[in-house]
């Protein structure tokens, strides 16, 4: 099972590996993690990055550093998908006027308030 997970992670990693040299830009890590089926929020992504060695200069992450960390994430089933009803509630909570939508500005406001 671990081998299979590692293969999956490697594949996803390589899609973002522009130069085919087993490194990706650190800013793509969030994207890679999410395309593997995880739903971390921004804080969680940062936490994850803290565990991975980022090579300076340039801000690159090597597959070798990423693989063990991500494997554990998948094995531990962290950052599981949010169920649909929960998301629906989230929208409803923010949609004070009950119009069926929220604006981008509202969202930004709520995210930056704390």
């Amino acid at each position: 099972l671990v081998a299979e997970i590692e293969k999956k992670i490697t594949e996803a990693f390589e899609v973002f590996d522009r130069e085919s040299n087993k490194t990706v830009d650190v800013r793509e890590i969030g994207c890679i993690v999410r395309s593997l089926g995880c739903f971390p929020n921004e804080a969680e992504v940062q936490e994850l990055l803290a565990q991975i060695e980022v090579e300076e200069p340039g801000g690159f992450v090597h597959l070798e550093s990423f693989l063990p960390v991500m494997t554990k994430v998948l094995l531990d089933r962290r950052f599981r998908p949010i169920p649909e009803d929960v998301i629906l509630h989230a929208f409803e909570a923010l949609d004070e006027n009950k119009c069926g939508y929220i604006t981008k500005e509202d969202l930004v406001k709520h995210l930056t308030e704390e």
């Binding site: 299979e4 293969k7 999956k8 594949e11 996803a12 390589e14 899609v15 973002f16 130069e19 085919s20 040299n21 969030g30 994207c31 890679i32 993690v33 999410r34 395309s35 995880c38 739903f39 971390p40 929020n41 921004e42 998908p81 949010i82 929960v86 998301i87 509630h89 989230a90 929208f91 909570a93 923010l94 969202l107 709520h110 995210l111 308030e113 704390e114």
Partner: protein, 700 residues
Amino acid sequence: AFKAAVLIQQWYRRHVARLEMRRRCTWRIFQSIEYACEQDQIKLHNFFSYLMDQFTPSSSKERDFISRMFITGESYKEAELEKYCDYESIEVPDSYTGPHLSFPLVPDHATALLEAYQQKQQLHARYVLNLLHETRKHLKQLPNISHVSTCYSEEVTVCGDLHGQLDDLFLIFYKNGLPSPSKSYVFNGDFVDRGKQSLEILVILFTFLLIYPKEVHLNRGNHEDHMVNLRYGFTKEVMQKYKVHGKKILKMFQNVFCWLPLGTLIDQKVLIIHGGISETTDLDMLEKIQRDKFISVLRLKKRKESRRKPEIQAINGESESGTDVAGDEAAPRLSLQPQTAQAPSTANRLEFSRWLRQTVQEQINTCRRLVDISESEPEELTYSSMVSLKDVDEPCWTRQEEWKQILDVLWSDPMPQEGCRENKVRGGGCYFGPDVTEKFLEKYSLQFLIRSHECKQEGYEFCHNRKVLTIFSASNYYEIGSNRGAYVKLGPDLIPHFVQYQANKTAHMLTMTQRQGFPVALISRVEESAFRALREKLFAHTSALISAFKAYDGDNTGRITLSNWATAVESVLRLGLPWRMLRPQLVRSTEDGMLEYKSWLDDLAMEQRSQEHIQSSLLEVIYRNRSNLETIFRIIDRDHSGLISFEEFQQTWKVFSSHMNIELTDDGINDLVRSIDFNKDGNIDFNEFLEAFRLVKQCP
């Protein structure tokens, strides 16, 4: 509330990430299939090697047939060219409503042409031929590497591959303005093939070239080569649009392409070539080569030989130029080597094989790749009086070295790793690393390179520490919405400014919705197309896949794990794709993580099959080899009529299937043939044949 917002953000980011992943996978699929197709050229070449090595024809007909494949065509000396591709005798009827050209050309002609093409009119064959003759005359005067200076025209616009996409050229002219004394252009090759309006693009470019010779510069690309055109569509396009005079026009194009300059140098600081460089690229040599000697950089035949028919001069796609200025032949007639016997006229199998082997043996060892060396030394390297050497030194390099120089410049690709290695993917040129670039730039005091040759999503891309710029001007190259096109402008400061665009209203609409944040529609469309192509490829390898799957299915349950599926598929197709990521789109139903591979393959087959009574393995073979088949057909069809005789077809098929190790009964062939529409005299319109099996890609 904050929590709610965070949740939404999480969800949204995940959505965007998935889209991004899908987008990149789609791109990968298209790219890998495109390059794999270029690899097919190698297979085609192996096929011909096989013919030469092992196939023994069993009848005189077969022998004739095969030797015909090896004589790629006649070469023409200047006078013959004028006579054969003569245009003056062609009358333009009063009923013709298209533009009329008279020489010398003036800007009004260009405008008339642009308008005519916008209204989908066609230029009369007489004018096309006339234009080509004049273009050739002009190009002959140009050096191998054009020199451009930004102090004359302040800005130079450089465009990359156009590949017959006229809409993109119109878009460029619309956004950037037409060529003029104050607007210089460099077009960096690959004007033709794949797109459907290669002819129109060439006519327009050549017209502007002749009107503004100081401001318009054209570089040769790897597709300005009739061998490549056979496969990738230009030949077909010309024959379809000019049924009567197409052959002449094609011949002229051959003789124009070889005169296209190999590169352009701006302010002695920026070198523009179509492909790239290699560690042996030598600008001094490049400037001195007789570039017109290389009509095609790809060859099927290696040696000059066979005087079976005196008028067919064995050539390797080489012209015998160098005769014009002097008036007489400056280059010696190709002389046969004493040991090259005439092809035996008796139906003696052994002798024939020996003859074949003799004449090509030397070359066969070095031609395992498609690109191979030209004929050996006996032919004189006489430089005609037209080409004046800067130094008085005798050229000390061989024809082979010259050929490699051109090949590298037209076919190479940059790679991120250091070093320089053979470009096995394309079958020609090199992969060159940043160190090669660095050394090269230093050696010739250049600032950076501009090249094309590779499709880029944004229309352009830097690499090698911004020392190499790829510029690609054919938008929506793989599919509507797949990529932007771009051109780059350079002023005297040589700082590049880019302009991007995307032709086609639909794509435009899609990009608009993209900006509004609904990229799904765009991605889905392109994705669909990519996966269709991928499924086709999978189908084409059905038997190999079954064997691979069986290897993982020791107990013969008919099922394998998805993990093994991915490994097996990659081992067969070798496309380097992320199969586990692609799996949900390719495999619909699984049980407990296991796949019933037989029924999955059957489903694939159902999508592809068009004729039930054709054996499925046969169909598979056709699919897998269709571009090779098409190329072979075109080679056999020497008069470009689109027809080959029934017998030739049968023979082709027989030879081909024995090479591919397929069991094919005569019934099988007959079935195949019966499903084709014979319209006349036992001739097969192979276009119909290929289309009947949906082997020709339909344009959207």
